[in-house]
């Protein structure tokens, strides 16, 4: 089985976000980067599926050279090779078109990625890729097994779960608890250094949306503290002052 796992290179979930250059660029000073947490779940499940039934895992990133440490980490976790499409993705459609261009010649049985990237939170790239390749897409997938040519999986629906079966190939947006995150071991880290990482240039795509500026939410006012022995006044304040009850 051939699996393609798409990963994003995103600021750590605990990163403080600020901007530079007149609010047109993310301030990267002091920001740690990580593999998108949802993508990391997808990768972990791909590694488990490969351990069980063999096959290969290619990891794909649409990003600039600063993604390489995350790509090497994915290789250390268990991917066999990597492809990076060299560009700064700013739009879901553009990103999906790059993934589809790579995937179309690869005959992948499974294309896995996170349910969304945690920088832009769009949650649409898996659907776009699926439609561009003419194959089904599902998200958010929280359980996945492969039997022969059939995927048996569960996706989260509002207030519960739906269990599905579908023939491969598929594009799946993943989330926990599909697998536990994996930490690379020393052997993985050593072998990752020599695994192939191919850098390709992006294909031309119509520019359908472009970022013009960033902004931050208005700062929150001070928290009004209510003494515990007067907790009941909270309900009055929520009614008369905040007017939310």
């Amino acid at each position: 089985m051939k699996i393609l796992v798409c990963i994003t290179n995103v600021p750590d979930t605990s990163a403080k976000i600020s901007f530079t250059d007149n609010n047109t660029k993310l301030n990267k000073a002091g920001v740690q980067y990580m593999i998108g947490p949802y993508d990391d779940y997808a990768l972990a499940r791909a590694v488990e599926l490969k351990e069980k039934s063999g096959g290969s895992i290619t990891v794909l990133n649409v990003g600039e050279a600063d993604s390489d440490p995350q790509i090497r980490k994915a290789l250390a976790i268990g991917a066999d090779d990597a492809i990076r499409v060299n560009c700064d993705p700013q739009d879901s459609y553009f990103t999906a078109a790059q993934i589809a261009a790579v995937a179309k010649d690869g005959n992948y049985d499974l294309i896995l990625m996170g349910r969304e990237s945690i920088d832009f939170n769009s949650g649409v790239v898996h659907g776009l890729v699926g439609e561009m390749l003419g194959i089904p897409s599902f998200s958010p997938v929280m359980k996945l097994d492969i039997e022969g040519n059939t995927a048996k999986f569960a996706r989260e629906i509002e207030g519960g779960k739906e269990y599905l079966e579908a023939p491969l190939p598929l594009v799946l947006g993943c989330q926990e608890p599909i697998a536990e995150w994996k930490i690379p071991n020393m052997r993985g880290i050593m072998t990752a250094r020599t695994k192939p990482l191919k850098v390709v240039e992006p294909v031309d795509v119509n520019n359908l949306a472009s970022l013009t500026a960033y902004s931050l939410p208005a700062p929150k006012g001070a928290c009004k503290m209510i003494p515990a022995d007067q907790a009941e006044t909270l309900i009055t304040l929520l009614k008369t002052e905040a007017k939310v009850l």
């Binding site: 901007f19 776009l128 699926g130």
Partner: protein
């Protein structure tokens, strides 16, 4: 040319977030000098669908093929694409949700349309077509120029104040042909908590963290939620420990919520949790640790023992009714 709005149904009722999408779409239609058409998929009475008229829709297309009874995003996308073509729509409004994102994505790829998800305000038409959207899980916003001939916008809860008016909408049955390729997946089973208030729709959420000390101690929180008519949520550690079901997990890697009132009980306020709740209108934090970071993000705070404070709040709510 009409602006097309997709609405989600829950047991035959239009969801509240979808009514906001209707109001948003109607407001955009007005700026474009055109009408607003709603697409509803699944079982619903005409009287319920007519509600869309009160929020500004002129017409409702109702697709109710039995094959559409499951929320199949691919089939829904085919229906939406057919509706866009029939109406000649250039602007399509979806309420941001897993289903809408999935179907919007497939439609965007079918039609070569722009898709922007997480929009928080009406578009700015003074210079092209610009929208503001939430990024970094609510920690920031981006202004995006939308350039496609067809524009699909996924709007976040509270992007607009939906006012119920007195307008009416005509209802038309809509039965486009459904491609077989949309039905290759078989639904084996569905597990759905019944009668539970949905977190993404709820006006009030009462949420618990590790400070609740274990699943057997959840009753005081559930009592307050019941008294307030609130949905219940939890922090990531709580769902990781299986104290509460996974679909209650609120935060950066869980559900993002935007209620009018969010009450956090025994949740310290890790940045990842705050990212999932920072779009709430009013936040209350109850924690015995005065240094808990949640107090910096909250509007009201009580430093105290949740097992003392919660029952007293429940009592106060009941007495104030």
């Amino acid at each position: 040319m009409s602006v097309l709005i997709f609405v989600e149904l829950d047991n035959g009722s239009i969801k509240k977030t979808s009514l906001e999408a209707v109001a948003y779409g109607a407001a955009v239609a007005q700026t474009q000098g055109t009408s607003a058409t709603v697409l509803a998929i699944g079982n619903a009475d005409s009287s319920e669908l007519a509600k869309a008229g009160a929020y500004g829709a002129n017409k409702v297309l109702h697709a109710n093929d039995a094959a559409l009874s499951n929320e199949n995003a691919m089939a829904y996308a085919s229906v939406l694409a057919a509706a866009i073509q029939q109406e000649g729509s250039k602007i399509v409004i979806l309420p941001k949700s897993g289903l809408s994102d999935a179907m919007g994505a497939r439609v965007a790829a079918k039609l070569g349309a722009s898709i922007v998800s997480g929009v928080t305000e009406l578009p700015d038409l003074s210079n092209g077509f610009q929208v503001k959207r939430s990024i970094y899980t609510g920690k920031a916003f981006a202004t995006v120029e939308v350039k496609g001939d067809i524009k699909i916008l996924g709007i976040k809860k509270n992007a607009i104040e939906a006012q119920e008016g007195s307008g009416t909408a005509t209802i038309e049955s809509f039965s486009p042909s459904l491609p077989e390729g949309d039905f290759t997946a078989k639904v084996i089973n569905q597990e759905k908590a019944s009668g539970e208030l949905s977190l993404t729709e709820a006006d009030i959420i009462v949420s618990g963290g590790r400070g609740m000390k274990g699943p057997e101690h959840w009753q005081p929180l559930l009592d307050l939620a019941e008294a307030l008519g609130a949905a219940t949520g939890c922090s990531k550690p709580v769902s990781d420990l299986d104290w509460r079901p996974h679909h209650e997990h609120i935060g950066q890697t869980g559900i993002k919520v935007a209620p009018n009132l969010y009450i956090a009980c025994g949740i310290s306020g890790a940045i990842q949790h705050l990212a999932g709740v920072n779009s709430s209108k009013v936040i209350v934090a109850i924690n015995k640790d005065p240094e808990a970071p949640f107090f910096k993000a909250a509007d009201y705070g009580i430093v105290g023992d949740v097992f003392d404070v919660l029952p007293r709040l429940t009592k106060a709510v009941k007495e104030s009714k």
